[in-house]
């Protein structure tokens, strides 16, 4: 703490642009995410752990007469869950923490355009998801004989992933106003994700769930993400196991688009930078 730094500034110039700063935010978000020893990394690792546990216990069992292994069914559900984990759960827990610890207030006081913050979050979500999916498929392929998608299934995989991540990211940003503080965030968000997983056919065969449960799950994105991922990882013949007798990809697309629009509206209306009573 001694001498001063540099001479006075030249004439004011425009601060760096929103996209350039968004890219810088992505790098800082990733560093923070993967260094955080508390919650984020455990949430990230959970699908892999579940894959190993369920794969080891039930992986070899087959579903009815189809010859499809449970591991093959389960990897679709885990990847769909991974979308929800890395976007919705991650942001709905991390943003209240950042509101509490002063992150949001500090960056609000800088010339960084607010949109750059969201670019950083979206970048984090996509990178975390890609890493998670790669590890899940690697584990499934190496230990539980998962068959990889082929041809147009990859195309479905990409659009379902992108649409799922975008809609659930927006929903996570909107939901970040619900927890009263950082401490409560995990307790509010995790049960919601767990209930959706149980009712959406991640852990159990969706077609064997009670009808009221199916109808409940059909209101939310995870059911449709899981169903669409089954179309990616299961053979065409498995469509017969679905409630509707098909994977209903057009309907999946429509529901995810609707949730994307809904998420955008909700986050624009409800998202707040400041703690309650501080604006």
């Amino acid at each position: 703490m001694t001498t001063a730094t540099a001479p006075a500034a030249p004439a004011p110039a425009a601060p760096p642009g929103a996209l350039a700063l968004g890219l810088r935010r992505i790098s800082i978000e990733l560093k923070t995410f993967f260094r955080d020893r508390n919650s984020a990394v455990w949430n990230f690792a959970l699908p892999m752990l579940l894959m190993i546990i369920f794969g080891s216990v039930f992986g070899g069992q087959t579903l009815g007469p189809t010859g499809i292994t449970f591991a093959q069914y389960f990897v679709a559900g885990m990847i769909a869950s991974g979308i929800l984990y890395t976007s919705f759960q991650n942001l709905a827990i991390a943003i209240p923490m950042e509101r509490d610890d002063g992150t949001l207030k500090r960056i609000q006081g800088t010339p960084m355009p607010k949109v750059s913050y969201f670019i950083g979050k979206i970048g984090l979500v996509f990178v975390a998801y890609i890493a998670q999916v790669t590890l899940l498929i690697l584990i499934g392929y190496s230990f539980y004989d998962i068959e990889l998608p082929s041809g147009s299934q990859w195309f479905t995989f990409v659009w379902v992933s992108v649409l799922g991540l975008v809609s659930c990211t927006l929903l996570g940003i909107a939901f970040s106003v619900v927890p009263k503080n950082a401490k409560g965030a995990s307790a509010v968000v995790s049960p919601i994700v767990l209930v959706l997983q149980f009712t959406s056919g991640v852990f159990f065969l969706y077609s064997e769930l009670p009808e009221w449960m199916q109808q409940f799950a059909a209101l939310f994105p995870l059911k449709w993400l899981t169903q669409a991922m089954r179309s990616v990882f299961l053979p065409e013949s498995a469509a017969a196991l679905e409630v509707a007798g098909s994977f209903e990809l057009a309907k999946c697309f429509a529901v995810l688009v609707a949730w994307t629009i809904g998420g955008l509206v909700l986050s624009l209306v409800f998202f707040r930078w400041n703690k309650r009573g501080q604006d």
Binding site: M1, A9, P12, A13, P15, D101, R106, P111
Partner: protein, 301 residues
């Protein structure tokens, strides 16, 4: 604003032609029934250090956070670097530096990563290494935020506040948690920023800090600026009675007077040279401050 109160004459106006970094007139903001700002008038001249003093709950934080663009106002004219903070733009923000109270973020990043990252937000940032050096964190530059002590964290906050080469720097209780040596070093840093032309609005609870650093001091109480002047004249301090004390015939004596020099002259001739245990005391900034906010509380009740 035209509101007149008993204490208004303690607010010494700046010259008409002063180049203002901050101009506030009639600022009001209420939270429900509580009027946090109840007609704040304040000028900060470009290049000066202005210390804003006041008890907790007096409206300091609401006032500064309105100036910083964090909070909205109910009424009043506010201009910060020529702009309305309620309509903050990135360009305007790039000319400000803000050191907030109590932040606990950036725990997973090293000092160097944090400072370098925030440097990227500004069009003309200072040099990252020089800023870290200037706040005395060079040895800690590879330490993560969560492993810094309270005082070191505060220095990181200051580093992030000045990295963008601000024209106007807000410092909200910057030296809380500093040991005495770190505070002295911090004062040198502020003096050096001032000498480069940075305008500084400082809120603090340390009156010695205000006395050392500030060109002018403003006292805020019950949502108003009740006194504003240079530290040595605040609240008529320079014109108050001086207390002269000495020892005569083995007894402690003291006398309050407007003319301490005359009294000392008399004592010197009466006691024939050196006056034993001679002291001349004027009220300290703390005395004046306490009497100002004390008066105010009495008025309130």
């Amino acid at each position: 604003m035209t509101t007149q109160t008993a204490g208004t004459d303690l607010v010494v106006p700046v010259p008409e032609d002063a180049d203002l970094a901050v101009r506030v007139r009639g600022l009001r903001r209420a939270y429900g029934e509580t009027r946090a700002c109840d007609g704040v008038d304040l000028d900060v001249v470009r290049g000066e250090v202005l210390a804003l003093l006041g008890p907790n709950g007096a409206g300091k934080t609401t006032t500064t956070e309105i100036l910083e663009g964090y909070r909205r106002r109910d009424a009043g004219d506010v201009s910060v670097l020529g702009h309305d903070p309620a309509k903050a733009t990135p360009l305007w923000r790039s000319r400000l530096g803000i050191v907030l109270q109590q932040a606990a973020d950036l725990g997973d990043l090293t000092v160097e990563e944090s400072v370098a990252h925030f440097a990227g937000y500004y069009p003309h940032p200072r040099d990252v290494g020089e800023v870290i050096e200037s706040v005395g964190l060079t040895e800690k530059r590879r330490t993560r935020g969560s492993n810094l002590s309270g005082g070191q964290r505060r220095r990181l906050d200051v580093a992030l506040g000045i990295i963008g080469r601000p024209e106007l720097l807000f410092l909200d209780e910057p030296t809380t948690g500093f040991d005495p040596e770190a505070r002295r070093e911090f004062w040198e840093l502020i003096a050096s920023l001032r000498s480069q032309g940075t305008t500084i609005l400082l809120t603090t609870h340390y009156l010695d800090e205000a006395e050392v650093l500030a060109d002018r001091v403003a006292v805020i109480a019950r949502g108003r600026v009740i006194a504003c002047d240079v530290p040595r004249r605040l609240g008529g301090r320079d014109e108050s009675l001086a207390t002269v004390s000495w020892v005569e015939d083995g007894a402690h004596r003291s006398e309050s007077t407007h003319e301490p020099t005359r009294l000392v002259g008399e004592l010197a001739s009466r006691l024939g040279g050196e006056v034993p245990a001679l002291q001349i005391l004027r009220p300290s900034l703390e005395d004046v401050y306490l009497s100002l906010i004390g008066h105010d509380t009495e008025d309130a009740s």
